[in-house]
C-alpha cells in the first residue's frame, strides 16, 4: 500500500484501520447503514454529522462496545474477529467518551495510571507483595504518566479527585488516560463539546501535539466546523446512519449533500 499526500502537504501513511460495509441495528432502528471508510497511519480523521447521525455508534463499533450485524473491520491489514472491548484495547485502540467516563473514586494520577493497565504484566502475587519486578514496573509507568501529565499541563491537579474538577479539565484527564495506553489509534468522541473558546483552543493544540509528537493516529468526532476544518486531514460525514461525504476538508465543505444536511437539521 502507498502513502498519501494531503493538499496541505502532509504525508500520511498506509491504511491502519478499515471499516467495510458496516451495518448496525438496534431492534428496528438502523443506526449505521452500510458504511465504509479507512483511516491512515498518522492522520487526524474527523467524523462529523448532525445529532443522531451514528457517529458515536461508529466509534463504539470500532472499539468493540457494539457488534455490527454486517460488515468487517480490518486493523493493521488483518480482518478482525469478533472481540471484547478489553481485547481491542490491548491491540492498541484507546478512546474517550462523549459523556465523560472517568473513575470518580480516584484522583487524576490514579485515573491516568489505570490507562497503563494493558502494559503492566507482573503477576498478581508479585503485585500483592510489591516486590521486585512489580515495584520496578510501578515506578517505570509512574514516570511515563508524569510525562503525560506535564505534556497536557495538568500538574496542578495531580492529586485532585476527578469528581471535583471542572468539566474542561475532566475531559483533559480522560485524554491523558487514553494516552497512557500509548495507543496506535486514538478515538475521541467530542473532546471539545461544552468547552469555552479558550479551553477549545487548548484541546485543539493538545490533539495536534499528540499527533505530531507521538505519531498517534486519531479519529475524532466534533460538531464545531471551524475546529474540524482546521485540524483534520480527512473528514467522513454521516447523516441518518448513511455516509454522505468523505474527503479532505475543502472537498467536504463544497459537497452539496453535506451542505443540505447541515442546513436542514438544527444542531448545537
Amino acid at each position: 500500500m502507498s502513502s498519501y499526500v494531503t493538499p496541505d502537504g502532509r504525508t500520511i501513511g498506509d491504511v491502519l484501520l478499515e471499516v467495510k460495509n458496516i451495518t448496525l441495528r438496534f431492534g428496528g432502528v438502523e443506526a449505521i447503514k452500510n458504511i465504509s471508510f479507512d483511516v491512515r497511519e498518522g492522520e487526524i480523521r474527523a467524523i462529523i454529522g448532525p445529532n443522531g447521525a451514528g457517529k458515536s455508534s461508529m466509534l463504539n463499533v470500532i472499539n468493540g462496545f457494539y457488534h455490527p450485524q454486517e460488515g468487517e473491520i480490518w486493523f493493521h491489514g488483518k480482518k478482525r474477529r469478533a472481540m471484547k472491548p478489553s481485547q481491542i484495547a490491548r491491540q492498541g485502540i484507546a478512546r474517550t467518551f462523549q459523556n465523560i467516563a472517568l473513575f470518580k473514586g480516584m484522583n487524576t494520577l490514579d485515573n491516568i495510571m489505570t490507562g497503563c493497565f494493558t502494559h503492566m504484566h507482573t503477576s498478581l502475587i508479585e503485585q500483592a507483595i510489591w516486590w521486585g519486578r512489580a515495584e520496578r514496573e510501578e515506578y517505570r509507568y509512574r514516570e511515563k504518566v508524569e510525562h503525560i501529565i506535564d505534556f497536557l499541563e495538568i500538574q496542578a491537579i495531580r492529586k485532585t479527585p476527578v469528581g471535583a474538577l471542572p468539566y474542561g479539565l475532566q475531559k483533559r484527564v480522560e485524554l491523558a488516560r487514553a494516552l497512557a495506553a500509548e495507543p496506535k489509534l486514538l478515538l475521541l468522541d467530542e473532546p471539545m463539546a461544552g468547552m469555552n473558546v479558550e479551553e477549545k483552543e487548548d484541546m485543539c493544540r493538545f490533539v495536534l501535539d499528540v499527533n505530531a509528537e507521538f505519531g498517534t493516529t486519531i479519529v475524532l468526532i466534533e460538531h464545531d466546523m471551524g475546529v474540524v476544518m482546521d485540524i483534520s486531514d480527512r473528514v467522513v460525514v454521516l447523516d441518518y446512519g448513511r455516509k454522505i461525504g468523505d474527503g479532505v476538508p475543502d472537498e467536504v465543505r463544497s459537497n452539496q449533500e453535506v451542505i443540505d444536511a447541515y442546513l436542514g437539521v438544527p444542531h448545537d
Binding site: 481485547q87 490514579d110 494493558t118 503492566m120 503485585q127 500483592a128 510501578e138
Partner: protein, 333 residues
C-alpha cells in the same frame, strides 16, 4: 474510677471485638457489590464453607466420605494425617480461589447485564447449594477449630488494669479474651493490606476502576470477568478469615452462616458501597449491641442482641438511606 463505669468500658471493648467479626463479613459483601453490583447473599455461607474446608484439611478428613462409603460400601473417614494450620490455611485459600473461578464460569458469565434482583436470586441459590455441598463434603457435625491462636482471658490485661478502680472494690481488671484480641489484630492487618493493595498496584487500581465504571474500565483493557474472579477470591479469603475467627470461638457449625444476616444491618448503617462504612458500621453495631444489652437489657427482660442491630438499621434507613459513608442516592430525572 467507679466499678460501674469500668464494667461499661469492658462491655464496650468486648462489643468492639465482636464488631470486628461483623465488619469482616460486611467487607466481603461490599467488595463484591462494588465490583459487580451483585448483592452476594452467600457471603456468610462462604465463611462457613471456608471454615469447614479448613478443619477438614487440618484433620485429614476424606471429602465426601459419606457419599463414597454409601456408594462403594467402604468405610473411609480419614487419611490419617494432620496438616499444620498455616499449610491448611494456604490450601483453603486455594480452594476459595477455585470456588471464585467456578462461580464466574458457571453463574456470573451467564448473567452479565441482568437485573440486580436476578443476580441476587442467583446468590440465594448459591448459598443454599453451598450449604448442602459443604455438608455433603465435610459432614454436618459441629467441629472444633484450633489454628493455634491464643485463647482464654488475658491475665496480663486483667492485672494491669486492676489499679483503675480503688483497692477493695468489685473491679478486678478488664476481662478480655485473648482470641478476641488476636482476631482484631488479624482483621486490622487484613484491612490495611487490602487497602495498600488496592491503592498501590495495577490490579488494585483495576478493581477500583471496575467498581467505578464498567465501560471505562473495558476501554482501558481491563477484563471484567478476570476482575470478578479476583474480587470473589478476595471475598473468599476475607470469608476464610471470618470463618477462622468465628470457628475458633464457637466451633464450626451451621449457625455461622447466619451471622451473614447480621451483616445486613451493618451494611445499611455503613452504606453498601463503602469499605470504611462496612468496617465502622460493624464496630458500631458490635458495640451498640453489647452496650444496649448492658444498660437497657435488664430493664426489658434481655435478649436485645437479637433485634437491636435491625432496629438501629431501620432508623438509619429512614433518616439516611445511603448509610454513613455510602454515595448519595440521587434520582435521575
Amino acid at each position: 474510677m467507679s466499678p460501674d463505669f469500668l464494667y461499661a468500658v469492658e462491655v464496650l471493648l468486648n462489643g468492639l471485638m465482636a464488631g470486628v467479626m461483623y465488619s469482616l463479613v460486611a467487607l466481603g459483601f461490599v467488595l463484591i457489590f462494588k465490583a459487580s453490583g451483585v448483592f452476594n447473599y452467600a457471603q456468610g455461607v462462604m465463611a462457613l464453607f471456608a471454615a469447614l474446608t479448613l478443619v477438614g484439611i487440618m484433620n485429614g478428613q476424606v471429602p465426601f466420605s459419606h457419599l463414597i462409603n454409601a456408594v462403594f460400601g467402604t468405610s473411609v473417614h480419614e487419611f490419617g494425617w494432620h496438616v499444620p494450620a498455616l499449610g491448611a490455611i494456604a490450601l483453603t485459600a486455594v480452594v476459595m480461589v477455585i470456588f471464585a473461578f467456578l462461580v464466574e464460569k458457571l453463574i456470573l458469565k451467564y448473567l452479565i447485564g441482568q437485573e440486580p434482583i436476578i443476580l441476587f436470586m442467583a446468590t440465594i441459590g448459591l448459598a443454599y447449594f453451598m450449604e448442602g455441598f459443604g455438608d455433603l463434603m465435610w459432614g454436618a457435625d459441629i467441629k472444633a477449630l484450633d489454628v493455634g491462636l491464643p485463647k482464654g482471658g488475658s491475665i496480663w490485661i486483667e492485672e494491669n488494669t486492676a489499679w483503675l478502680a480503688a483497692e477493695g472494690s468489685r473491679f478486678f481488671g478488664f476481662f478480655i479474651d485473648k482470641l478476641d484480641v488476636s482476631a482484631t489484630l488479624v482483621a486490622v492487618v487484613l484491612v490495611i493490606a487490602l487497602t495498600l493493595f488496592s491503592q498501590y498496584t495495577a490490579t488494585g487500581r483495576a478493581l477500583r476502576a471496575v467498581a467505578d465504571d464498567h465501560q471505562a474500565a473495558l476501554s482501558v483493557g481491563i477484563s471484567l470477568r478476570a476482575i470478578w474472579v479476583i474480587t470473589w477470591s478476595i471475598a473468599g479469603f476475607v470469608a476464610l478469615v471470618a470463618g477462622i475467627m468465628w470457628g475458633s470461638k464457637s466451633g464450626v457449625q451451621f449457625s455461622l452462616a447466619f451471622i451473614a444476616l447480621k451483616a445486613l444491618p451493618v451494611l445499611m448503617l455503613g452504606g453498601f458501597t463503602s469499605i470504611p462504612g462496612a468496617i465502622v458500621g460493624g464496630l458500631i453495631i458490635g458495640m451498640g449491641e453489647k452496650l444496649f444489652e448492658f444498660f437497657v437489657g435488664p430493664l426489658i427482660g434481655g435478649a436485645t442482641e437479637n433485634w437491636f442491630a435491625y432496629v438501629l438499621a431501620l432508623i438509619f434507613l429512614v433518616f439516611r438511606p445511603q448509610g454513613l459513608f455510602g454515595e448519595r442516592i440521587i434520582e435521575r430525572v
